[in-house]
């Protein structure tokens, strides 16, 4: 039973560029949440997708957008990258009807130069 997978593992971009991160949820899960984790901090909620729609959103600008596909996988897009976007981006999956227990992937380390 595959857990949550994310790609790529690491990514280096320059300011102003755009990036797309990908996530495949744990088998059987239908909900995907994205978090940003700055160095030394706890994860901060970006948004959550269920049934291909954004259901909740944290305090992040519109430069952060996402998508969920029919197979429940998801993408996180960040436009006009800033130095402050450098962080570990975590994807977590869950089963909507099973409550809030979320399983995290290993994350994508994004460095913006």
């Amino acid at each position: 039973d595959a857990g949550v997978t994310q790609s790529p593992t690491h990514l280096i971009k320059t300011r102003g560029q755009q990036v797309t991160l990908r996530c495949s949820p744990k088998s059987g899960h239908d909900t995907v949440s994205w978090y940003q984790q700055a160095l030394g901090q706890g994860p901060q909620f970006i948004f959550q997708y269920y049934e291909e729609e954004e259901r909740q959103r944290g305090n992040f600008p519109d430069r952060f957008s996402g998508h969920q596909f029919p197979n429940y996988s998801s993408e996180l897009n960040v436009n006009a990258l800033l130095l402050g976007d450098s962080a570990l981006y975590l994807c977590a999956s869950s089963l909507r009807l099973a409550g809030n227990e979320q399983f995290f992937g290993p994350g994508t380390r994004l460095t913006v130069l």
Partner: protein, 111 residues
């Protein structure tokens, strides 16, 4: 905004000791709490959870205690091992909201 905080940023213990990691939460509406362990370079790993209708829940070598009166959560690790060295986060949520994480406590276990 509301957030979950941890009392100590670091905790150092000897192998075999019992460890206690504390967390204070601010939202009295929170009804589900989770402890995560995060090792370097990895995503958070679920350890144990507890719902607000419980005061205590035990797992393998871990116990979570919830005191709703003072909005306090703790994680107890029995017979701490070097492999327990990691950053520990508590997280809270209530229906319709996302997980809210604190800043974490770094547990260092020396042998």
């Amino acid at each position: 905004g509301e957030s979950v905080g941890l009392h100590l940023p670091t905790l150092s213990v000897q192998e075999g000791d019992n460890s206690i990691i504390n967390c204070a939460y601010s939202n009295s509406a929170s009804d589900y709490f989770i402890w995560y362990k995060q090792e370097s370079g990895k995503g958070p790993q679920f350890i144990i959870d507890i719902r607000s209708n419980m005061d205590k829940r035990q797992g393998q070598r871990v116990t979570v205690l919830l005191n709703k009166t003072v909005k306090h959560l703790s994680l107890q690790i029995a017979a701490t091992q070097p492999g327990d060295s990691a950053v520990y986060f508590c997280a809270e949520t209530y229906p319709g909201t996302a997980l809210i994480f604190g800043k974490g406590t770094t547990l260092s276990v020396s042998s």
